[in-house]
């Protein structure tokens, strides 16, 4: 049994490695290509490999990783991007390593040795048999579930249990997804897999923060890593959009956030209220926050956005403000509280408990808004739209009112004549205004015969 931290763990101290900047850039470039191809890879030393050959691999691994860290350290958005992709790589390596010892050693490295125990050790420490004491089966039959994961059948040992001190896994304690005994959380590797990934990401972020100073004080280094920085920036930008938007047909690399005409009326209104009044109701905060997240805002950008637009910030610094909103933002981004990737609320939900422009704004105010916003438009069709919308609003047909508005705005009618989800509004508006000419469009051109 080896007690060493495996070489695939990039936060490990690799010992003495020296390489010049040119080589470092080259390794970083190669690593970058591999990271974005999503062809996650493992490194482990085959028995036949010579020390020299293996060392070369290690140097590439740690050298490439180090230069990537240096490059992203100057830009919080790029930092977030690198942390995400390195986090995925780490997760893949962690769950697919064939050695349980390696997994445990990585846990000990992340949480420090005294906070990680094997069940046998717990049994000896307290003179009990945990499994018998709580009458739980030693072997669980959950492995089937994980073979369907995106890592294919490489997944190993996830049903095995370990003990981690409760102080290290607050999100899991909060969710009660744990058997607690004398301060030790008895968990399966499957249960903590996400928490372990988050811990890795947290520690990687700290390392990147430290690299920042290194680069700031060294103009030469800054210039040297410029090519890598540029390349990451290009990639990260093209990959900012959430999968949800990509599935709606919005092209990679599009900055939705700069195109407010793509925002549905509810979101435009919420931003307007926030800017004029300085705060929103709790549920509205959530609705807007999730929308912005899905449109590609990072946690850091949202902190900035809310700081600049809230009245909550009066008399406090940005740093203090960050502390205040951090928990909710982290929650929204799935960094705490179970790691859920929240979807934006459906229109039905917005109508019932969040904010819907059509359900919650007075008709006369809406008419006023439309008259100002569309002063340039043909008066006859504006009046027709206003009349239709007022009628739909009166009949509580809010989703249809939204679709009618969309038709007036774009000249396209929407299948079924109603909007179900705020993001699909954005997806359709994008197709209308920015879609490629040759793209096949599902929506029919508007016909004024209804």
């Amino acid at each position: 049994m080896s007690t060493e931290v495996p070489d695939w763990f990039v936060l490990k101290d690799p010992g003495n490695i020296s390489l010049d900047i040119e080589v470092g850039n080259k390794y970083a470039d190669e690593r970058l290509d591999r990271l974005i191809s999503e062809d996650l890879w493992n490194i482990s030393r085959p028995s036949w490999m010579s020390d020299d050959e293996w060392n070369k691999i290690i140097v590439e691994e740690f050298g490439g990783h180090t230069f990537l860290k240096l490059a992203v350290s100057q830009d919080p958005r790029l930092t977030t991007w690198l942390i995400e992709v390195e986090g995925d790589l780490f997760e893949f390596r962690f769950i697919s390593t064939s050695s349980l010892d390696e997994k445990i050693n990585v846990l000990k490295e992340l949480y420090s040795t005294e906070n990680v125990k094997e069940i046998q050790e717990i049994n000896e420490m307290y003179g009990i048999d945990i499994y018998r004491h709580f009458s739980i089966a030693n072997i669980e039959t959950r492995s089937v579930k994980y073979t369907k994961s995106r890592f294919g059948s490489n997944v190993r040992d996830l049903e095995k249990k370990v003990a981690i001190h409760f102080t290290k896994i607050p999100a899991i304690i909060s969710a009660r997804k744990v058997l607690l005994y004398k301060g030790w959380g008895i968990v399966t590797l499957a249960d903590i897999r996400l928490a372990v990934k988050r811990e890795f990401e947290k520690q990687l972020r700290e390392v990147v923060e430290k690299s920042k100073e290194l680069v700031v004080n060294d103009e030469g280094l800054k210039a040297a890593i410029k090519p890598i920085f540029d390349k990451i920036q290009k990639i990260a930008k093209s990959r900012r959009l959430s999968k949800d938007y990509l599935s709606l047909g919005i092209d990679e690399g599009v900055e939705i956030l700069t195109k407010s005409e793509l925002f549905p009326p509810c979101i435009q209104e919420l931003i307007g209220i926030l800017k004029s009044e300085g705060h929103l109701a709790h549920m509205e905060n959530w609705q807007l926050g999730i929308f912005l997240k899905k449109a590609g805002m990072t946690v850091e950008e949202q902190q900035r956005f809310w700081y600049e637009n809230s009245v909550d910030n009066i008399g406090i610094s940005f740093e203090q403000f960050k502390q205040r909103v951090n928990y909710q933002l982290k929650h929204m981004y799935g960094k705490v509280g179970g790691g859920i990737d929240y979807s934006p609320p459906s229109c039905t939900k917005c109508i019932n408990s969040y904010f819907c422009y059509w359900a919650h704004k007075r008709t006369d105010k809406i008419i006023e808004d439309m008259k100002i916003r569309f002063a340039e438009k043909d008066k006859k069709s504006l009046d027709a739209a206003i009349e239709d919308i007022s009628k739909l609003q009166r009949d509580q047909q809010y989703k249809k009112a939204c679709a009618r508005y969309f038709r007036f705005l774009t000249g396209w009618s929407i299948k079924g004549n109603h909007i179900n989800q705020m993001m699909s509004y954005t997806g359709l508006a994008y197709k209308r205004f920015y879609g490629k000419k040759d793209a096949k469009v599902e929506e029919e051109e508007a016909e004024d015969n209804d």
């Binding site: 607050p170 909060s174 009660r176 744990v178 607690l180 005994y181 004398k182 301060g183």
Partner: protein, 395 residues
């Protein structure tokens, strides 16, 4: 302040009777200088105050005849008017639980009582019946802290009125981060909104110790106090003014006759025949216990059988529960919800997680009741009326 609780008495108590050494044994001497205290002096709140030595604190307390005294967190520098706790960094604070019977109360938008105390008590009022809620909560938390979280010592203090404070004494708790404190509270909390709760059935399988504890500490009292009492003495509610009454007491009061043998099955008939109405507004009465049982999916017969079985069980656990509960998903879910709602500990989360909160200083005098916030040696034997008062101490 009660009329006869004078500043002379307070001064004398803090000068001669207050057990300073014992108090120091709870908080330790190290870092005493940078610990915040809070007092009520002449009905004014004095915060951001610290002392060089315990004796200086005592001197302050008797020379100002403090009406209430609280202990706060330890900070980087001694808190003072110029170093307010909002502006300086904190080092640590004890991990403290606050249980207060008024957390079991709730009112609807019209001001009607919709809390879980069925004895008629609310706010400051308590009786031996509802005190059980506080007792059970304390026992539950005590066991959870020790068994699940591995802490070795907890001390319980009387809050001076209608609650208790639990201090986890292990030094490790001092360095708990906010995130860790919140995680412990989240693990323990089942009731976020006082009118709704999570169901027993929704506790994840993994959290076996917590679930077992609900069975061993809460389910039996639920059936024996709440369920049985409701069945033997149903709750009647006025349809007009929404006041709630216990059938036995109400019948006795309005008919002037002893209401012997209030039988659940004949109660409706009796109300009709004897024309019993709301004692406040003469509105019509409704047997809400009956409706509740129906909502549970239980008949009176089934419910009585259930109670009999619970009473006949010495040690209650998950297996016992599974054996006696009907295999009807709806009934199980409803009763599971009700057990949590009416028996599960209600903890003031902010007290435990907000570092800057202060907590009543052990052995100080409660300014309104005159009772002393003593350490409770045996939770099961403690009842607020038996707590010593300043008058007892000064005799």
């Amino acid at each position: 302040m009660t009329e006869n609780l004078t500043s002379d008495m307070l001064s004398e108590y803090y000068k001669k009777k207050f057990p300073l050494d014992r108090f120091i044994s709870y908080i330790g001497l190290e870092d005493f200088e940078t610990r915040e205290f809070m007092f009520i002096v002449n009905k004014n709140v004095v915060r951001n105050i610290s002392f060089r030595t315990p004796e200086k604190m005592k001197e302050y307390m008797y020379s100002n005849s403090v009406e209430s005294a609280y202990v706060g967190a330890v900070y980087d520098k001694p808190p003072s008017k110029n170093n307010r706790v909002q502006d300086i960094g904190w080092k640590y604070r004890e991990f403290i639980f606050d249980i207060d019977l008024s957390d079991y109360d709730a009112h609807d938008s019209e001001g009607n009582y919709v809390g879980v105390r069925t004895c008629g008590c609310e706010k400051y009022v308590y009786c031996e019946f509802c005190w059980n809620l506080a007792l059970e909560a304390a026992l539950f938390i005590d066991e959870t802290m020790k068994e699940d979280f591995g802490f070795k010592e907890m001390k319980w203090f009387f809050s001076g009125r209608r609650g208790v404070h639990g201090w986890v004494m292990d030094n490790e708790t001092r360095s708990l981060t906010n995130e860790q404190r919140i995680s412990i509270l989240n693990y323990l909390t089942m009731i976020n909104d006082p009118t709704r709760s999570q169901s027993l059935e929704e506790i994840p399988n993994e959290a076996k110790p917590l679930r077992n504890r609900i069975f061993s500490l809460l389910v039996k009292p639920y059936f024996e106090y709440v369920f049985l009492q409701d069945l033997e003495n149903p709750v009647l509610q006025c349809q007009n003014c929404k006041s709630k009454f216990r059938a036995y007491e109400l019948i006795k009061e309005v008919t002037g006759r002893k209401a012997e043998g209030v039988r659940f099955d004949t109660l409706d008939k009796r109300i009709r025949d004897q024309n019993i109405k709301c004692k406040y507004c003469s509105g019509p009465l409704l047997n809400v216990t009956k409706i509740e049982l129906e909502n549970f999916g239980l008949t009176e017969l089934k419910a009585s059988k259930l109670i009999k079985q619970v009473k006949g069980t010495k040690v209650f656990d998950h297996n016992q529960y599974n054996l006696i509960m009907p295999y009807d998903w709806k009934v199980r879910r409803n009763i599971g919800n009700d057990i949590i709602l009416r028996r599960y500990p209600r903890i003031d989360k902010a007290v435990s997680t907000d570092i800057k909160r202060v907590s009543r200083l052990p052995y100080s005098v409660h300014g309104s009741t005159g009772k002393i916030a003593i350490e409770i040696k045996d939770l099961k034997k403690f009842y607020p009326d038996s707590a010593p008062t300043i008058w007892d101490a000064l005799v």
